[in-house]
């Protein structure tokens, strides 16, 4: 986060905190009108400037009034009927003639009846000069805005109907050639510009598969036409090139209004700037909260929350964040029961205040032990563990439980499976891969058990060489077998970002170029694969030399992490070691954030960045301060995974109830309550075994092996498949599926497998039916096993009544067990 945003943020927090305490914000008075930019200088006839008019209130709040303010342009004194130098509509200043003038802006607050005014001087020069157009700066943005070069049209690979453009114009030279030279220049008719296919197709005069994209006579049409009239100039080599774009404002809380105009400014290589509000493209990242129009006007729908709007111009992206607070007037008492314990709690609560939401109660101890056990070790607590925990009266018992869980063997088993998924430790179907797969799985399990520092864990994988028996991590390179996989997996898995777009073209949603991609690829340029000690296995070696070329430009790339330093290739050195060094730098902006976000998402159900491996500028974190703080803490603790998990799990936020209240029921991303999730496939199958008292048999493993202990995806299990275990085909966290589906319900409800577990003669229902224990104890036992809680009084009374009334106790207990494993309370972690 840059300093400017920090200032804005702290101001915003101050404002919100102030209003929460204030008696009534309705009394806030209009103090002044501010305008951005403060003055306008237009240097040619094509320039426009979007004004942003903001009403400032005494309580510190701001309101965009660009569309509701009144504008008047002072006519020049000396000229009789000549037009004023500029006109203005919806805050957009349009030049009309050379000269100087000013725009008077007034705004009246309809509620308070207060008014405010401001004046903006305007200077227009060069209006009558026909300037020499530049393809990249003037024409390309029109094609992009009209979606000509989008992935669904001519920008897709191979183009559309024989006309191909580079995706979103990342390769202007290619596009210029396609427009002006290809097909014997048939797309442009210099002698009769209006007959050019470029115009007739785009305007829908000739049949066009994409329909009419430009209005005849629109400014964009006129500009294209002028470009043709000028002889389709490509531009001079020293013409300025756009280098950065900025959206204004970067962040805004919408109070008292449902809309926000934005303004986009491009900065060029010669130091000049231009307003590109109208030429930029906009995309709402949360269309259920925000919509955005072509001219940069953002509107909120009737839902509260936060959204981001992506702005893109000439392959550059920026983003503005809009907050629609839930309530402005939450009394301080809404937070009274929440006692922040750690920085995590403080930062999450800051965000709640900003949004006007308040947390649920803390969850019960029974809920906590179930949740913490499932999340940390993928295992239901036993009835005995629950009883002991509930009986413990010490105030620090939750913290002690967390520490104890992280030290259990199941912790290493469970997390070895989670890492095995994204590390794609996969046997496929070959027995010949069994040895390597098992060795790699054991290495991961051991790394988890000894709590190996995460940077070292990653380094040992990335820099693997030798044979499986020397070094099981070479198995990673079995699936991640070529440069493209190596770059994609490294970025997605360890840097939390998806780069595959940039293999072939610049990334459409991130400041990432094809050069960045192939700079990453260069780290793997000396990787060699040869047959290993066993014929079916590979060994990894490092060549003394080896380079990588960018495929489009043919340029030799130096190894370079995203935004990191470029390393020189030294003969005999393994560039992969440099990659691991770069990742472990405390200043690396990706590595630690990606990891803390991944772990946070595991425990809280929703990532600070959603899509835990899709972090990018245009997909900003919901709580940047928290993400930064967690990452910093993680680095400070030398990449200690268990310490990170302890920090998260011992926060009050993690211990909140899942039950919503009226102040947070719309919250989906700010942790005002626990977000439930279905148990992962392996944990669920183990839990079914626990509740039914039966034991699943896995082919090739000793009886008693649990699902969370399985080393790979190959062990046959319909249950695990249907409940969405990862196939380990990609490095994406998303391959593990938590979505319910019909086959799952059918299997739990009606399968011979589950039925035989429930009715197992040595199973739990049979044992309890034969036992001499009192009915109340039997029912309590079942509740403790499945739901990790004692039954409520009503539940106990009703279930005991039914048990007492039945003629077939075992059948009833089987049916009750069936109900337990089919219930939502069981299947979900809550």
């Amino acid at each position: 986060m840059n300093d400017r945003i920090k200032v804005i943020l702290s101001l915003l927090f101050a404002v919100v905190a102030g209003t929460a305490a204030a008696a009534s914000p309705a009394l806030a008075s209009l103090t002044k009108l501010t305008v951005e930019p403060a003055q306008v200088a237009l240097v040619n006839a094509d320039q426009l400037v979007q004004l942003l008019v903001t009403a400032q209130y005494s309580d510190g709040t701001q309101r965009d009034v660009t569309r509701t303010a009144a504008y008047t342009v002072t006519a020049p004194k000396s000229t009789g009927k000549a037009p004023a130098p500029a006109s203005i509509t919806t805050g957009r200043v349009v030049p009309q003639a050379d000269g100087t003038t000013s725009v008077q802006i007034t705004f009246k607050d309809l509620v308070s009846k207060q008014s405010a005014a401001a004046t903006v001087p305007v200077q227009v020069t060069g209006f009558t000069v026909e300037r020499r157009l530049n393809y990249a700066n003037d024409i390309l943005p029109i094609l992009t805005k009209a979606s000509c070069n989008s992935g669904g049209c001519h920008g897709k690979q191979g183009g559309q109907n024989g006309f191909a453009l580079s995706l979103l114009g990342f390769d202007p030279d290619f596009d210029y050639n396609a427009l002006t030279r290809e097909g014997h220049g048939r797309r442009i008719t210099l002698t009769a510009p209006d007959q050019s296919l470029l115009l007739t197709k785009a305007a829908g005069v000739f049949p066009h598969g994409g329909g009419a994209k430009l209005d005849l006579g629109s400014d964009s049409y006129q500009l294209l036409r002028r470009w043709i009239v000028q002889g389709t100039p490509k531009g001079r080599t020293n013409d300025p090139v756009v280098q950065a774009i900025e959206v204004i404002p970067r962040e805004r809380i919408l109070i008292g209004t449902k809309e926000q105009q934005v303004r986009v400014v491009a900065r060029y290589s010669d130091g000049s700037t231009a307003d590109v509000t109208r030429a930029a493209e906009y995309k709402s990242q949360q269309p259920d909260i925000l919509i955005v129009e072509h001219d940069g006007l953002i509107r909120t729908l009737d839902r509260t929350g936060e959204g981001a709007v992506m702005v893109r111009y000439m392959g550059l992206v920026d983003v503005t964040r809009i907050t629609v607070p839930y309530s402005r007037n939450l009394p301080e008492s809404a937070y009274a029961n929440f006692k922040p314990k750690t920085y995590v709690d403080e930062l999450v609560m800051t965000k709640w205040r900003k949004l006007g939401i308040a947390p649920s109660e803390l969850c019960t101890d029974a809920e906590f032990i179930r949740r913490a056990s499932l999340d940390a070790i993928g295992t239901l607590p036993t009835a005995e563990e629950v009883r002991t925990f509930l009986a413990d009266k010490a105030p620090d018992k939750r913290d002690r439980l967390v520490t104890a869980l992280l030290d259990r063997k199941e912790y290493a088993d469970y997390w070895a499976g989670i890492w095995g998924d994204v590390l794609r430790n996969k046997r496929r179907n070959g027995e010949e891969h069994k040895r390597g797969t098992f060795a790699f799985a054991a290495w991961i399990q051991d790394s988890m058990a000894q709590n190996k520092p995460y940077d070292q864990f990653v380094r040992e994988i990335l820099t693997a060489q030798g044979n499986v028996s020397d070094n099981p991590t070479v198995v990673w390179y079995r699936e991640v077998r070529n440069t493209v996989h190596q770059v994609n997996d490294t970025a997605q898995l360890f840097l939390g970002t998806r780069v595959s777009c940039a293999n072939c073209h610049n990334h459409p949603y991130e400041k990432m170029t094809q050069d960045d991609y192939w700079g990453m690829a260069a780290f793997f340029s000396r990787l060699g694969v040869k047959q290993g000690e066993v014929s079916s296995e590979n060994a990894i070696f490092v060549r003394k030399d080896g380079e990588t070329r960018q495929p489009r430009t043919g340029k030799t790339m130096k190894p370079k992490g995203l935004g990191g330093p470029a390393y020189d290739q030294v003969r005999g050195e393994d560039p992969r070691a440099k990659l691991a060094d770069w990742m472990a730098e405390p200043t690396n902006p990706y590595f630690s954030r990606a990891l803390v976000n991944r772990i946070w998402a595991h425990y809280l159900g929703v990532g600070l960045v959603e899509g835990v491996d899709d972090m990018r500028l245009t997909n900003p974190p919901s709580n940047p301060a928290l993400l930064d703080a967690l990452a910093k803490d993680f680095v400070a603790h030398k990449f200690d995974l268990k310490q990170l998990m302890r920090t998260i799990m011992t926060s009050q936020v993690y211990g909140l109830s899942a039950t919503p209240n009226s102040d947070n029921h719309t919250d989906k991303q700010n942790y005002a309550r626990y977000f439930p999730r279905r148990l992962p496939a392996q944990a669920l199958l183990d839990a079914v075994d626990t509740v039914t008292g039966s034991t699943e048999k896995y082919a090739g493993f000793p009886l008693g092996t649990r699902a969370i202990e399985l080393p790979d995806e190959f062990v046959p299990s319909y249950f695990l498949d249907v409940f969405g275990r990862s196939k380990r085909e990609t490095a994406c966290e998303c391959e593990r599926s938590y979505a319910p589906n019909l086959a799952q319900s059918l299997h739990l409800m009606n399968s011979p497998e589950i039925q035989s577990k429930i009715s197992d003669a040595k199973g739990n229902a049979a044992k309890l039916a034969e036992s001499k224990r009192p009915n109340a104890e039997i029912m309590a036992e079942l509740y403790l096993r499945a739901f990790s809680r004692p039954p409520s009084e009503d539940e106990l009374a009703e279930s005991v009544k039914r048990l007492a009334a039945t003629t077939d106790r075992r059948a009833f207990l089987e049916d009750f067990t069936w109900m337990l494993v089919n219930s939502k309370e069981f299947v979900f972690n809550h």
Binding site: E610, G611, L742, N750
Partner: protein
Amino acid sequence: MTIDVTSGTYGTCDGRSRRSFLKLGALAFGGLTLAQQLQIEAQAAASGKATKDLSVILLWQGGGPSHIDMWDMKPSAPAEFRGSFNPIKTVIPGYYVCEHMPRIAQMVDKISIVRSVTHPDSGHESASHTLLTGYKPTNDIPSNEVPSYGSIVSYEMGPRVEGFPAYACVPRAPKSTAAAYLGVAYNPFETQGDPSSTDFQVRNLKLPNGLTLARLEQRRDLMKTFDTLRRDVDASGLISGMDAFSQKAFELATSPKVQAAFDISRESSSVRDRYGRNTMGQSALLARRLVEAGVRFVTVDTGGWDTHTNNFENLKRKKLPHFDACFASLIEDLDQRGMLEKTLVLVWGEFGRTPRINKDAGRDHWSTAMTAVMAGGGIKRGVVLGETDARAEFPKERPVSPQDILSTMYGQLGLDQDKSYKNEADRPVAILNNGVPIPEII
């Protein structure tokens, strides 16, 4: 699928499962409330999409069937090409098929045969991906980078009769028949088991041993009383979704209509004999039952066509007699029941086989010439399109791409192949990005 339907972010595949779940759409194997279904139907009617009520049966010949030994005989080719089979006359004058397909020879006037299908990929997995999705994969070991057409059709059209799955595979789903980014709800429902075995049962559809209908109902009653977790603890809709699926599962397990459709033993033994008492034949018969009852898209996995060794023995003893009975019966049966015009049947594998016989009396992978067969659903009857050269190695006239075949299928179904879905990277991917319908067969 629509990516931008919930908050959080767009284009993330982590959110995908949740979103695709929320947008229940034409959920494979049901799962909609009546209200949702009605709403979707109303929307479909309003947007005028896919109003043709066709079903599809795909007979997938995984491994690659030998075109030169089946549909594209070359009796004048040198011995090392033509092989040991003789051509026989068919009901289409001048058109011959293999002597081991005698029943098919008598019904080719009901189908269209495209002998000039060609594509450049002779690897099993990648070619299967191309032929089952329309897209050549970019990954070297593909696994549904894009949705299979079975998933797309079920997503767009839903089951033909509410309460049935939209998309089923009999008995198992071959690779590349899944839904990719359309979401797990559009994966095929696999019957599993072997429909030709006497104790064949569809997985988890029949009450397991030891359970009666009355007892299942008692269990449901317990659930209503004791499963009290509040649905509103979950804003993502997953918990209420599980309720909906569980309700649906209960209905399926107890629905006589569904039970009957999957119960192949209800067919007379003469019908079962006619299809052939083997996996391929009985699977095709089950496919016909399912389509008749209301399933939209059924893929029959007839695999085992990868005849690198002993091509002629394998084909003669097993594959061709089975296929002859299965395919001829299926088309005749559909036709007699008046279902052929409402059911599009597609028969192909990922490629043909090398016309030159190898040293093991086998044929290897050959993608530049292969045959696709289509029937029903408005496909012309009795057309033999395209021709290969004298050795059945390359198309001689009217080369047809696999995408042209799929474009023809989508066109017949009334689906717009230019419609696109956002993939995991938020990139719009069209249902099909090239291929045009084949006018000669429609």
